[in-house]
Amino acid sequence: MDDETGALPEGAPALEMRRITKRYPGVLANDEIDLDVRPGEIHALLGENGAGKTTLVNILYGLAAPDEGEILLDGRPVRIASPSDAIAQGIGMVHQHFMLVPVLTVAENIILGDETMTGLVFVDRDEARRRIRALAQQFGFDIDPEARVETLSVGVQQRVEILKALYRQVRILVLDEPTAVLTPQETEEIFAVLRRLAAEGHSIIFISHKLYEVLSIADRITVIRRGKVVGSRVPAETSEEELAELMVGREVQLSVDRGESHPTEPILRVANLRVRDDRGREVVRDVGFEVRAGEILGIAGVAGNGQDELVQALTGLRRPSAGKVLMAGRDVTGASARHLGGAGLGYVPGDRQRFGLVLSFPLDDNLVLTSYHRQPFARGFVRDEAAIDAWAEKAIARFDIRAPSATVLESTLSGGNQQKTVVAREFSRDLKVLILDQPTRGLDVGSIEFIHKLTIAKRDAGAAILLVSAELDEVLELSDRIGVMYRGEIVSISDGSTANREEIGLLMATGGRESGEGATLERAG
């Protein structure tokens, strides 16, 4: 499907990993995995979260030690016990969470650990700048070596990571979920860079769980499930459906049937809302929208454009500095979280471990965390244990929470089951408004499918749903209407059934100020 990557590079593998096995307490993370990557090849590792992809590349990069198996570079066995060994062997890695020091400059980050020196003590900063400029020019990156990393956009930071690897003259570059934080445009740009690197003979290992991306960039795809290689494919000879089935182990419905929504009267109305962040900067600027009963309004946007503060202001976690929030006609601006909960607001927070659950509490207590003080779970100020137990049993069965019992600690459950705990608690209440913040972050395909279906069901039952997500795919899939948030403003609201991926992506990246009035406005970095 892509003529630039159509031809499969021939020749001996640059890298071979043989029968790699890694055990963690209770988990077989890698089970005799074989992987070979040829020079100039883009090799995708596809698998669900927790399938063992990251473990495998951590072993390659010396961040984890394999229990069994061997690694060969150009046919020679090598021992990689630490990242320094990996770097010395020409292996570089761009981590999912960038390994950049925010307060240091681009140049300092790139040379860190391999500094250009004048003498034995001092760093030669001129030489570092010169080399980085030359390298950036060679690959067509426009990067200021003196810029502080924290001032750069995510896309640019990722290039700094790639430069960091190229500076160390890597031949094999591993990228762990590189597109998770990028807009579609940034993704295209990074793909162009990767193709260019491959054309120059670099081998690239590309980790992803996004099927269409893997199909468009990879020369070969290796699918991993539960620590095992379950198949290897060439893009031309496979399909999204086949890859999904390999990845999950059963046939999956890749997109939920959203059906038709039948919105009625507006339930949640937000007008001229302004919110400041912890540092006092206004990060939500004059935002207004309404969500009707029986519809899902999705808010797309690159993370950090004010979505967090908007959600906090709507859920009683942060006081807005101006504006109004109306729920079912009543003014609830600045109301407390408990008051909002009582008035029919459900909330699935983006960071379930910090805001959604008390990890050191048992599962059943977490299931009543927003209703323990009310009937039927409390009589006066005494908890009704029997009522809580009965309800927990029901919720565990209905929401398919896989736990040995209702009294196990929440911290012992997997991410998917933790999220199902939050969803069970919030979705079971009598809701007027439901706010979902990244409801499927880090979950496996099965859990995502399940939560998406529940969300549609809740909509059809008449809830007004606000979905905020940095995952554009999720917003596109579920929303009846889509708003784009950019630098604290909602720059457009469009119809979900006709929305176009590229258009929304462009709005996320630029706020739609590409032309005309945009000349005088600040632009994304």
């Binding site: 473990t55 990242p83 320094s84 890695m93 020091v101 860190l112």
Partner: protein, 354 residues
């Protein structure tokens, strides 16, 4: 006296005039008083920049002051020597400094082990050090020093700079302030500048800052995070050791229980006030010590007129508490926002589970 009878503006002008007048006199005192605070702050800066909080500076200083005094005292008793002309140094005093530094580094090694290897709570580790230092020095003070009232090695003498330098117009008083000091106080300014340059220009400095901000990033480019933290914490201990040596071998010539009197904590405040830079911390230490020195000046040479009436009416305890009041104000965050290294206080462990 009716307070309204004091012309406020006049008093303010008099105050500025008085400060300018006494500045040459209080500057040397302030620099001497700043020395242990600044050295303690260097200990804090180096540790915290690499991600290890050290609230045990106070205890390290106290241990060093004690060990330095004890060792110097016994050496002086065993090998009496006449002081050299420069600084009045004797072998006993020099060995005392070395002993003080080594003692503080040993305590720092314990702190490094607890906070880097054991990954204990660094605040608790520091607290243990403070409490243990107070108890141990108090106990051995009673056991070894108290029955031996003649134990001691004297003190270093202040350097007397040549008159041609100190009588230079404009800068003479400043040169005198920095040069009319003992060897430890005189070395502080050098140590501060060297550390400032190293922290921001050297490979060690770059790696230290990276490890304190984002240890995982440093780890993935092959920097040994744990080793670097160990080295920094132990090296930092050397400066706390010098601070302790200053107290017993340069400032007083005697050891008293709890003689650090919170200087280690004031040093921590100086680290924050100085935004984790050596120069900044030194400046903060000077501010704290200047308030102390001012109290001395007011007691010795009170100003005349309304201002004199006012200043001498304030009880001397108020002046004595000024540095501590300043510390509270600084730590409460009144003086701007100061951002700590991101990974400070958090033990580092390699990710083992994907």
């Amino acid at each position: 006296m009716d307070p309204t009878s004091i012309p406020v503006l006049g008093v303010l002008i008099q105050l500025v005039g008085y400060l300018v007048e006494v500045l040459p006199d209080i500057a040397p005192i302030a620099i001497g008083l700043a020395a242990p605070i600044a050295l303690g702050a260097m200990c804090g800066v180096i540790g915290e920049r690499s991600g290890v909080v050290n609230i045990g500076i106070e205890g390290m200083m106290l241990m060093a002051a004690f060990v330095g005094f004890l060792v110097a005292g016994f050496v002086a008793q065993t090998f009496p020597a006449t002081p050299w002309p420069i600084f009045g140094a004797t072998p006993a005093l020099l060995i005392g400094i070395v002993a003080a530094v080594l003692a503080a580094m040993a305590v720092a090694l314990l702190h490094a082990w607890l906070s880097v290897s054991v990954r204990a709570d660094q605040i608790i580790s520091g607290t243990i050090i403070n409490i243990a230092a107070l108890g141990l020095t108090g106990y051995f003070n009673r056991l070894w020093i108290a029955p031996n009232p003649r134990l001691g090695a004297g003190t270093f003498q202040s350097f007397i700079p040549p008159a041609e330098l100190t009588e230079l117009p404009l800068v003479g008083w400043l040169l005198k302030a920095f040069l009319n000091q003992g060897p430890i106080a005189m070395s502080v300014i050098v140590i501060v500048i060297v550390l400032q340059v190293l922290l921001f220009r050297s490979r060690w400095g770059l790696r230290t800052r990276a490890v304190g901000e984002h240890p995982a990033a440093a780890d993935t480019v092959g920097i040994d995070v744990l080793l670097l933290r160990y080295r920094n914490v132990v090296l930092a201990g050397a400066f706390a050791g010098l601070a302790g040596a200053y107290l017993t071998l340069e400032a007083t010539g005697a050891f008293q229980n709890g003689m650090t009197t919170g200087r280690g904590f004031i040093a921590l405040a100086a680290v924050i006030f100085g935004r984790w830079t050596p120069i900044g911390a030194f400046g903060a230490a000077l501010l704290f010590s200047a308030s102390d020195a001012l109290a001395v000046a007011i007691a010795l040479r009170p100003p005349t007129g309304h201002l004199g009436d006012l200043l001498t009416a304030i009880p001397s305890e108020f002046y004595a508490s000024l540095p501590y009041l300043l510390t509270i104000i600084v730590l409460a965050g009144v003086v701007g926002r100061s951002i700590a290294p991101a990974a400070v206080g958090r033990p580092y462990a390699k990710e083992s589970q994907a």
